[in-house]
Amino acid sequence: MALSAIAGAILVLMLAEAARPTAAWALTRPIDEVRQVVNQSLPVLRDAHTPLTQRRRQLRTLIEHHFDFADMARIALGHHWRELNAAQRAQFTQLFTAFIENAYLGKIQDYSGQNVAVLGENSEGEGFARVRSEIIQQGKQPIEVDYLLREINGNWKIYDVTVDAISIVANYRNQFNRVINDQGFDRLMADMRAKQQQLQASLGS
């Protein structure tokens, strides 16, 4: 069901397609950005010799470079973002970043030779783009994965991922909004911290 999408979203970046040469002189396009993430993740995922902790560090650097966590945190909070002061925003962004990163890194164990085909890109208005891709797995339907990017100072950064048409950030936004509306921002922070510690513990590092 759609539930596994949340987990699946995180898996996708770790999968890779066969390296495709991109012209060095070309301006960066959204699709190149996604191909880069995919192509750089592949060797790390397949590398069985390097210790797991080191591979996680490599992947962490990689995603920090390509993802725009500040924007992601802001949209994940929806209109409640406006009600927070600067300190709360910083706190939330930091915790959300750690949470998403750990969720993503936890998926290393799940990699079992899947491939990713980057299919194409669409403009979503000035400065916004969607790159379509598929996770190809043997004997099963491919999983549709779209990357949503925006241009910041000439660089394309990923601010959301959809898996089988479910936006991960929108999914978290619904969860976060519910908790804030019913129990307040502090409760959300407490719940996220607890979840984050669970994830951290399961990573074992």
Binding site: A5, I75, Q175, F176, R178, V179, D191, L199
Partner: protein, 272 residues
């Protein structure tokens, strides 16, 4: 005359049954309209854009709030019920079942259920004037019921590349502009909306078994086959809940949003 009287009696009963079904649909439809109005106004209030701060570029969805959920107390109860049912009944049964039946066989069971569910898919594709999809569904049923050994193998897809075209009456209503209405967590069936619950009932009425067999037989046969379908599905997706729960801060909200986003995407796909 003497012979035809009991026949007439049976006919009247059938008729009463159909009327009762229609009454249920009408009731649900009313509920749907009421809750749709409610949900729409709640949605409007929630999604009013807040004042912009200088220097912040608008991002898609940043003004969004949670889905309106007027039935939340009921939904919460049913959500807990479904999770308990899954944890204490369906999962243990599915575990034993997977131990007995190897995975390829379970895929075949799944194929079988998808194959016999052709009527609502065919009808709703037709209702929405997706004539080629409806024709595909008919052809798939013919191919899989024969070459695919009573539907155990989806050879229409693997040999002829004909994909299944999922469709249901909830999507037909949506196609003709009916809003989803409030979110509903149904016991046994899982996440739904008022509109999609009406759809579920209407699709259920299309089951020919209900019309050919006495009601007590068809109801228990329905329940039995749905239970097998559920256990079989769970055996093919063993980590579904665990995975979702691992990454969710609020599992109820995660499931609700995943359902709503999926239905919106299905409608959009059908509109293309």
């Amino acid at each position: 005359m003497a012979v035809s009287e009991p026949m007439m009696g049976a006919g009247t009963k059938q008729c009463a049954k159909r009327l009762a079904s229609l009454a249920i649909v009408a009731l649900l439809a009313t509920l749907m309209l009421v809750s749709t109005t409610f949900a729409q106004s709640a949605m409007g209030a929630d999604q009013a854009a807040p004042p912009k701060l200088p220097g912040e570029k608008a991002l898609p969805g940043e003004a969004g709030g949670p889905y309106p959920d007027p039935l939340e107390p009921f939904n919460q109860t049913m959500f807990t019920f479904n999770i308990d049912l899954d944890q204490w009944v369906v999962t243990p049964v599915a575990k034993g079942y997977s131990y007995v039946l190897p995975e390829p066989a379970r895929h075949s069971v799944n194929n079988f259920f998808r194959n016999v569910g052709v009527i609502p898919r065919f009808a709703n594709n037709l209702f929405q004037l997706h004539v080629y999809n409806a024709a595909d569904e008919l052809a798939r049923f013919g191919i899989n019921s024969t070459l695919g050994v009573a539907g155990l193998f989806d050879v229409a897809d693997s040999w002829f590349g004909m994909k299944q075209h999922n469709d249901d009456f909830g999507l037909t209503l949506g196609h003709y502009g009916i809003y989803s209405g409030a979110y509903v967590m149904l016991p046994f069936f899982g996440p739904s909306s008022v509109r999609d619950t009406v759809g579920l009932v209407v699709d259920g009425l299309m089951n020919p078994m209900d019309w050919l067999l006495p009601w007590y037989v068809s109801i228990s046969a329905d329940a039995g086959s749905q239970a097998i379908d559920a256990v079989n599905y769970r055996s093919l997706h063993p980590n579904q809940f665990e995975e979702a729960d691992r990454y969710a801060v609020d599992l109820y909200g995660a499931v609700q949003d995943a359902y709503m986003q999926t239905r919106t995407a299905e409608l959009k796909r059908l509109a293309q």
